[in-house]
């Protein structure tokens, strides 16, 4: 065996098997070659027509040509390849062929990373094939090469995020009905994002980078944007791996760690921008976003299993402090709810703290804190209340028919019933009061009596906690018993 063979073998050993498999399949498939040839054909035709048009050198048609070429590239990179990758993955999940991988040494993270990396390599390949055509637009007028370069780089970053998003959707799409539902939702989101990002890209080409991002903060803005996208992609990566992982494993640990990192990173970014721009509203924006996402996470938490599996028990660290922290991060419904509660409290405390700073007490004539408490607080209480009600209903009435992993569906149905029934009843009885909207978490801004909204939401959460107190306490005790064991 030569030294070269040794090096090749060593590289071969380190390559993720999923990447090898996926690339072999993609290269063999007609789809990849079809997309490449079709889109390259488009590029050739459009560029040839633009170059042939002599008049184009004396106006800004270079920008139009570039945007058209970029549109085609972005369609392939952000929409076609990610959606195709997600679709392939959901089909594999539906066939159950990924199951056999779990009796090998491959981890769920390896699977998701392999799928993502293979799709991203294809995107890179397509970008490489398209780049020379786009560079040619420089010979037409009105094109700024630097903006084009940054635009392609940012395009690659968002394409990576789009790919991970579609893979995440693909991992969810396990069974018939839900598969169709998730695929449609994923498709809709990707198409919506495609047009939004295309309009931003168009802005960048037309007005230059400085005017698109805040003047003077170009690189900070790009760094913030990229950091946010990368952190979000990292969270999606762990979320997809958690969905794919066997139910008995400690699959929520990486997700909660990643979500906590994302929470911290976005907090740091908010802090940076608050200091740089001397504007504390940034914290309020961050607080709203963090709180809303955490509130939605209640639906995930109550759909987790409510007992400690052998595999989870095996991983509980020794020591009281480590064990208590592990309860928050390890798989389990009560642990998930406690983790959300702690992050919510921290989010509220940070917003409360910064609104106490000089010059940060008011915006647009209203108190940041009161708005934050009203909207974020009530939304969290609503979600927590409905989630806990659903956990109770499922456990007590339909445990034999609905698996715990589908508790989120019961929560959404409970929310829908609480939101719709009062309106229908009001209609029948001839009542038209806005109070009938009070059980709907989305109508908080439409109801004028905000104090009653908060009171209702808080009552809902308290009732949920009371009726589930024994269930939550049992999980605490069981976890600590395993910890001691």
């Amino acid at each position: 065996m030569t030294a070269l063979d040794n090096i090749i073998d060593r590289c071969d050993e380190r390559i993720n098997p999923i990447i090898v498999k996926e690339l072999r399949q993609v290269v063999r498939g007609k789809f990849f070659w079809g997309v490449l040839i079709l889109f390259l054909g488009f590029q050739c035709v459009v560029l040839s027509l633009s170059l042939a048009d002599q008049g184009s050198r004396y106006n800004n048609s270079g920008q139009e040509t570039l945007m058209f070429l970029y549109g085609v590239l972005f369609l392939a990179s952000f929409a076609v390849i990610p959606i195709y990758s997600g679709f392939r993955f959901s089909r594999e999940r539906n066939e159950g062929s990924d199951e056999l991988l779990f009796i090998t040494t491959i981890t769920p993270q390896t699977i998701i990373w392999g799928k993502f990396a293979a799709a991203f390599l294809v995107i890179l390949l397509i970008n490489s094939a398209f780049a020379p055509f786009m560079a040619m637009t420089f010979f037409l007028s009105g094109v700024d090469l630097w903006s084009t370069f940054i635009m392609i780089l940012l395009g690659l970053v968002v394409s990576a995020a789009g790919t991970m998003f579609q893979i995440c959707i693909g991992s969810l799409a396990r069974e018939g009905g839900s598969m169709v539902l998730f695929r449609i939702a994923g498709l809709f989101f990707q198409v919506m994002m495609f047009f939004s990002l295309m309009s931003i890209s168009s802005e960048m080409v037309r007005y230059g980078l400085d005017r698109t991002f805040s003047s003077g903060y170009l690189y900070s803005s790009i760094a913030t944007f990229v950091t946010f996208i990368v952190s979000g992609t990292y969270l999606l990566y762990h979320a997809a791996a958690a969905v794919v992982a066997p139910a008995a494993t400690n699959r929520m640990l990486p997700v909660r760690v990643a979500a906590t990192i994302l929470w911290l990173v976005t907090l740091l970014m908010a802090g940076y921008w608050a200091v740089v721009s001397s504007n504390f509203e940034v914290f309020a924006v961050w607080g709203f976003m963090a709180s809303y996402v955490l509130s939605m996470a209640c639906l995930v938490a109550i759909s987790e299993r409510d007992f400690v599996t052998e595999r989870v028990a095996r991983e509980i660290p020794a020591g009281i402090i480590k064990g208590r922290i592990a309860f928050l991060f390890f798989s389990g419904a009560a642990g998930g709810l406690a983790w959300i509660l702690i992050l919510q409290i921290l989010t509220f405390a940070i917003v409360l703290l910064v609104t106490g700073l000089p010059g940060a007490t008011a915006y647009s004539g209203r108190s940041i804190l009161s708005d934050f408490v009203l909207y974020s607080g009530s939304f969290y209480c609503y979600l927590l209340g409905y989630s806990l009600l659903a956990a109770f209903i499922r456990r007590v009435f339909v445990a034999d028919h609905i698996d715990i992993r589908n508790t989120w569906v019961v929560a959404l149905l409970t929310c829908a019933v609480f939101s719709i029934v009062p309106i229908l009843a009001g209609g029948v009885m001839g009542m038209g009061s806005e109070d009938l909207l009070i059980a709907n978490p989305l109508y908080v801004s439409a109801v004028r009596r905000t104090d009653s909204v908060l009171l209702f939401a808080a009552s809902l959460a308290v009732i949920g906690l009371v009726i589930n107190a024994a269930w939550i306490a049992r999980q605490f005790k069981e976890f600590y018993r395993e910890m001691d064991a």
Partner: protein, 309 residues
């Protein structure tokens, strides 16, 4: 090496799919896993392969739990599911090579292993064929080759003979015999009982998730004495002999079959001896008196009711 299953249970919502299963497998044994559709065979195999987690009970490999240490199962157990490989756009070589990579086998060893395994399972001739172009039998071979890639001590097979033509079945049987000779323990679920009784050293019969019988084929067939069929060849009038026999205790469902009189005999060997003595003492002449050989099929039909949960 011993793979033992103790009080294994699995519940799906209100259905108890597997109820307190207890059995053990040893290296070199081929054990048939028999039961009506929906009896819990696939669920049991999936739990043993560490794909599903049991609701309670334990599965141990030489005393080590594979429920809390699924890595053990991955290392020592190969699993052939009831579905065939679905990666239609991969070649046979790519599919097996992929799983060799998935088991983190070093490149140099992987190349030799994949080649040897394809030779062993007779796949070398079709190594570059796409899986979509293969017959069911060939796909099953690919599936078995995949399950052997990490040289497991036990192989769990879920209906590997389903849908195979007679030739492919015979080839599969030979392959199992070779694997058994290599010291691998095999648990094979199948509906083709005649084939199982030919290759299996022991059998596990379950229904509605519960174990009905477990033991060697001889033990199972011999122990099932409640419904043995006796065959007698009398000399003289068959009608007169039948009329005499039908009045004797323990004789049911009597029929005349050619020169023989056959009936179900609900009694022990001692009871059969008393019956024979009674025939002889009544001066009736017989030239044959024997029990019909019980086979797995008849035992299975006798002890199962064909009910699912």
């Amino acid at each position: 090496m011993i793979l033992s299953v103790k009080n294994l249970c699995k519940n799906f919502a209100d259905t108890q799919a597997v109820k307190r299963l207890n059995f053990q497998l040893s290296g070199g044994d081929i054990t048939g896993f028999v039961g009506p559709n929906g009896a819990g065979k696939t669920t049991t195999l999936r739990m043993m392969a560490s794909i599903e987690e049991p609701s309670s009970g334990s599965i141990e490999l030489d005393g080590h739990s594979i429920i809390s240490n699924p890595e053990l199962a991955r290392e020592k157990i190969g699993f052939v599911p009831d579905t065939l490989p679905t990666q239609d756009d991969m070649t046979v070589f790519e599919y097996i090579d992929f799983f060799a990579r998935a088991y983190a086998i070093k490149p140099a060893r992987r190349r030799v292993l994949v080649h040897d395994l394809m030779e062993f399972t007779n796949l070398l001739g079709i190594r570059e064929k796409l899986l979509s172009a293969l017959s069911k039998g060939m796909k099953q071979r690919v599936s078995i080759a995949r399950s052997l890639i990490h040289d497991p001590a036990f192989i769990l097979m879920d209906e590997p003979a389903a849908g195979l033509d007679p030739r492919a079945r015979i080839e599969l049987r030979e392959l199992l015999r070779v694997l058994s000779r290599q010291g691998k323990g095999i648990l094979i679920s199948s509906h083709i009982l005649s084939e199982l009784s030919e290759i299996c050293s022991s059998t596990l019969i379950i229904e509605q998730g519960a174990m009905l019988k477990f033991g060697s084929i001889e033990e199972i067939t011999e122990n099932d004495v409640s419904h043995r069929r006796l065959i007698i060849r009398p000399l003289g009038s068959l009608e007169e002999f039948s009329n005499f026999m039908i009045l004797l205790p323990g004789v049911e469902n009597l029929v005349v079959n050619g020169k023989f009189v056959e009936f179900d005999f609900a009694g022990s060997d001692d009871d059969a001896f008393i019956l024979l003595k009674e025939i002889v003492s009544s001066d009736r002449k017989i030239t044959e008196f024997r029990f019909r050989q019980q086979n797995l099929e008849s035992v299975f039909m006798n002890i199962t009711k064909g009910e699912v949960q």
